[in-house]
Each structure stands twice: as structure tokens, then as C-alpha cells.
């Protein structure tokens, strides 16, 4: 029984020569790994490039902030201008209305002088 097991184990553990393309495949895989590593290393940014990107990002942020600020200021000015325009028209309207009131009194004076008095 034990001899049988031993002989089977021995048969199973007998060294087998690799197939002929094994070495070629192995070398090809190793070369491919080396190329991949070299490419990855090439893509890594240098500190100089990183600094440049940082400056460019900051400049873009600054420009955006200035643009937004300018836009908001322009909008505030437009709102103030339109409000001032509305007030001017209202003020002149009120002035015109009161001048007309004086005119009405002067006009009615000619029809019934006892009611109204005016001096021009």
C-alpha cells in the first residue's frame, strides 16, 4: 500500500521539461513590463511643470474672480442708474403736476376771481 503511494508520488513529481515557447514568452513578458514601467515614469510631471500648472490655475482663478467682480459692479451700476432714472422721471412728473395745479388755479381765477387768488 505504502509502496504504491510512494511510486505514484514519485511518478507525479518527476521533472518535466518546459515547452519550447516558454522561454520566449517569459522574455517577452519581462520586456513588456519594462516598457510599461518606463512609460509610466516618463508621464510623471517634473516639479517645474507642477509649479507652472499651479501658477496657471491661480491666474485663471484670479481672472475669473476679477471678471465676476466686474460683472457684479456693472450690474450694481446698472441697477443704480435705472433707479436714478426712475426717480428723475418721478421728480419731474411731480413738479409738472404741481405746476399744472398752479395753472388750474390761475385758469379758474379768470372764471371766478372771488374763489382764487394768484400772483404771477
Amino acid at each position: 500500500m505504502s509502496e504504491d503511494l510512494e511510486s505514484r508520488l514519485h511518478a507525479a513529481l518527476t521533472p518535466v521539461a518546459p515547452r519550447s515557447e516558454f522561454t520566449q514568452n517569459l522574455i517577452a513578458r519581462v520586456n513588456a513590463d519594462k516598457r510599461t514601467e518606463a512609460n509610466t515614469r516618463g508621464r510623471r510631471r517634473s516639479p517645474k511643470a507642477t509649479a507652472w500648472w499651479l501658477i496657471a490655475g491661480m491666474a485663471a482663478s484670479l481672472l475669473t474672480a476679477v471678471g465676476v467682480q466686474h460683472h457684479l459692479q456693472l450690474r450694481r451700476q446698472t441697477e443704480s442708474g435705472l433707479e436714478a432714472r426712475r426717480e428723475v422721471i418721478e421728480a419731474l412728473h411731480i413738479t409738472s403736476e404741481k405746476l399744472n395745479l398752479a395753472y388750474e388755479v390761475i385758469k379758474s381765477q379768470s372764471s371766478s376771481p372771488a374763489d382764487d387768488r394768484s400772483g404771477v
Binding site: A91, S108, Q109, S118
Partner: protein, 187 residues
């Protein structure tokens, strides 16, 4: 040397003389208590900067805007206080007297004074003239339920102001506005 001394004297006196010169700008009270009672109140304070800004937003192609733009030329300020109440005699004449007293100062001339017993509407129009040009206008209109004070500061072209009526849906003021200086100014 004498001229030099005179120059220095005048330079030193200039601020005092400027202060003593009558100003077409009236000191309008805040009327805070009246504003709270009023059903409608209008407070407009437009200095030269705001008038210039408003002018930039007036469309020259529009008739009303164009007329307004013409009037704004040379103006340095427009100040309006107008209060409407829901009952008669809600304000005292003394409320207006503070303004009326300023118009008794030298430089102000009353152009029009109307008193209507029928409508109880009183309108006083004053102008200030300097170098044959109106440099200030004040209008006080008091009605039973409304009083309005208008003060316009600057080189006022009375003809343009006269033409203004009709632009805002108000009939034209047919009374001839006298050319400045007026021959029959009543004070």
C-alpha cells in the same frame, strides 16, 4: 505789494464769501413723523452724480427721455418730498414753515403764488437768479391731503421746464413763463 496783500486777503476771505452767498439748495427736513402718518410718501434726493448717472440711462430716441435729458443738462440736484394723507389737515403749516422761511433769504424770488379757496390748493413757486440765469427753483404745494416740496438746483432753463409739461401726460402750462429776470417779481 499792495495788490499782493489784497490777493492774500481775498484768498483768505473766499471761503467766508462762498459761505455767505445764498445757496439754491434748501435744507429739507426729514419729516419722519409725517412720513409715518402718510399713506403715500415720496422722498427723492438726486445729487449731481446721480443725475449724471440717470442721464446715461435715458434713451435719446424716446421723446420723454430726450426731453428729460435736455432738462437735466446743467442741473446739480433735484430734491422732492411729497406726502399724501387719508384725511384732511393731517399736517400743520408749521411743518412747511421751516422750508418757507429759507425762501425769505436773499436771492430767492417768488415767481407764482396761487391760493384756491375752492380746492384749498396753495402753490408757491420761487426761483433764485444769478447772472440773469435761474440757478434754483423751489415749489411748495399744499393741499388738504397732500403737501409737496420740490427743490431743483442748477442752471434751470425755464423754457425747457415749461416744455416738460405735456410730456408726462399733464396738459401744457399755458401761462407764459417770464424770461429771467422777471419784470414783475413779487416777494
Amino acid at each position: 505789494m499792495r495788490n499782493f496783500s489784497l490777493g492774500i486777503f481775498l484768498a483768505l476771505m473766499a471761503p467766508t464769501l462762498a459761505w455767505a452767498a445764498p445757496s439754491p439748495r434748501l435744507v429739507l427736513p426729514e419729516f419722519t413723523a409725517l412720513a409715518q402718518q402718510a399713506t403715500e410718501s415720496v422722498t427723492i434726493t438726486l445729487d449731481a452724480a446721480l443725475l449724471a448717472m440717470a442721464g446715461r440711462f435715458l434713451n435719446g430716441d424716446d421723446a420723454q427721455d430726450a426731453a428729460t435729458k435736455e432738462i437735466l443738462k446743467g442741473l446739480q440736484g433735484i430734491y422732492v418730498r411729497s406726502y399724501t394723507f387719508d384725511k384732511d389737515s393731517a399736517y400743520q403749516q408749521s411743518d412747511i414753515d421751516a422750508v418757507r422761511n429759507q425762501l425769505s433769504a436773499p436771492g430767492w424770488n417768488r415767481l407764482v403764488r396761487t391760493r384756491s379757496r375752492k380746492s384749498q390748493a396753495n402753490v408757491d413757486i420761487y426761483i433764485m437768479v444769478a447772472n440773469n440765469q435761474a440757478i434754483g427753483l423751489a415749489l411748495i404745494a399744499s393741499e388738504p391731503r397732500q403737501f409737496t416740496i420740490v427743490n431743483i438746483v442748477g442752471a434751470i432753463d425755464l423754457d425747457k421746464l415749461h416744455k416738460l409739461e405735456g410730456q408726462f401726460g399733464v396738459p401744457k402750462f399755458d401761462v407764459d413763463v417770464p424770461k429771467v429776470p422777471m419784470p414783475s417779481i413779487k416777494k
